[in-house]
């Protein structure tokens, strides 16, 4: 078997730069008037926080910056927001619906 790129589990860290891959599309559904994530075989319905996180996750900014921005915007508890952001991104990564364009050591 020739060399194939075998995937490694993505561990979401503060330095990760997450972005949705080609097969996970965040889209506004005009008919149902809500945001959806289109993935193979399913449609995921993100809640408002998830939508906000994913709209920030463009592969350029880090998880840390995402947390900073949300903390500033909602004037919330940074630790709580951080836990929430990382949990959501890790969940997506475990399902294969998130790319990390450059955490530490990549």
């Amino acid at each position: 078997m020739p060399a194939t790129v075998v995937r490694r589990p993505t561990g979401i860290a503060l330095t990760s730069r997450p972005v949705l891959p080609r097969h996970a599309r965040l889209r506004f559904d005009a008919v149902r008037q809500r945001w959806v994530i289109l993935v193979p075989e399913r449609v995921l319905l993100p809640d408002e926080t998830a939508i906000e996180i994913l709209r920030l996750a463009d592969g350029e900014i880090t998880v840390e910056t995402i947390i900073d921005r949300l903390t500033f915007k909602y004037q919330g508890d940074r630790a709580v927001i951080a836990t929430d952001v990382i949990a959501l991104l890790q969940d997506l990564a475990d399902q294969g619906f998130l790319l990390d364009l450059g955490g530490e050591g990549e």
Binding site: M1, V6, R27, V36, P40, D47, A50
Partner: protein, 383 residues
Amino acid sequence: MSELIDTSSREETTPHPEMPMAVLAEMTHRCPLRCPYCSNPLALSRASDELSTEDWRRVIDELPEIGVLQLHFSGGEPLIRKDLVELVRHAGQAGLYTNLITSAVLLDATKVAALAEAGLNHVQISFQGSREEEEADRIAGMPGAHLRKLEAARQIREADLPLTVNAVMHRQNLDQLPEMIDLAVDLGAGRLEVAHVQYYGWALKNRAALIPTLDQLERATEIVEEAIRRLKGILVIDYVIPDYYARRPKQCMGGWGQRFFNISPDGKVLPCHAAASITGLSFDSVRDHPLAWIWRHSPALNRYRGVDWMRAPCRNCEYREIDRGGCRCQAFALTGEAENTDPACALSPRHEEIFALAATESAEDRRRLLYRAHGGGVWESEG
């Protein structure tokens, strides 16, 4: 807490369901393979009956307007259609998420590049076996098929298209399951669908040659559960179990005409890809009506919506809203009437008899296959 609701877990059934989010387009029934488990109907559509490119373009334009978000190109072998790349592009431009479900034997580097450039979101390739290509080719009914699939899968990953491997499992290949899982990892697939054969279409004709033993099934379930844990973050594994050995039937397609429809090669709108097998129902065609009208008013789609059509034991059963009496196609194929309880259910009066038959068939271990072909199929040569 942020949350992702998975739409595949909705349960209510209604006489007026909302528009499906996903639609399966069967572009053709033509196929270079002859899989004996093929879920296509025994009465295969002819090329001359197929919708034209113009028909498909019009249908694709209607889909997003009525709220459909995802379009799965399937068949038969969708790549036999010369207009596939054009239609994928058209669907993408219309805002649809596109998935190609293919045997991959017609995929080469040029085709892969064209599909990627046309905006295809995802590819699913079916495999008949893992290592021993002769055995995989024997199931596919096409010499050389397995090596071509391996090569196509590599091309897909090289073009950075996301890949799902579909492994259709039955008595004659279940022992290869661990290697099939390794194969999916080696190919760089993000997702593996381990699908035990569902017994309708050609698979029902071949049940005696394909149905697993209970032992095999239990072993397979253990293997999959172990692999799911071991490969977390590397490979997502979806598992479809055969309902012959279950106590309750599967919740088929989320209910008849509830969350999904299928467009057959000749344009009929079906609640699933097997429904054309139910004789006596006449399905409406996109050649005659707009999709929005068909979804709401087609008598064949309305026939088994809600729960009013049910007979005993389903009619008064506490599970009727959950599994909806199982699969109408299976009820029809095994009892002759689609209104009956799916015999996969332990409460069906036919369950014991059919279950016992399946167990006997699996123990007899007949291996000869009936290949999918026009005119009733072709038997594998003996010896």
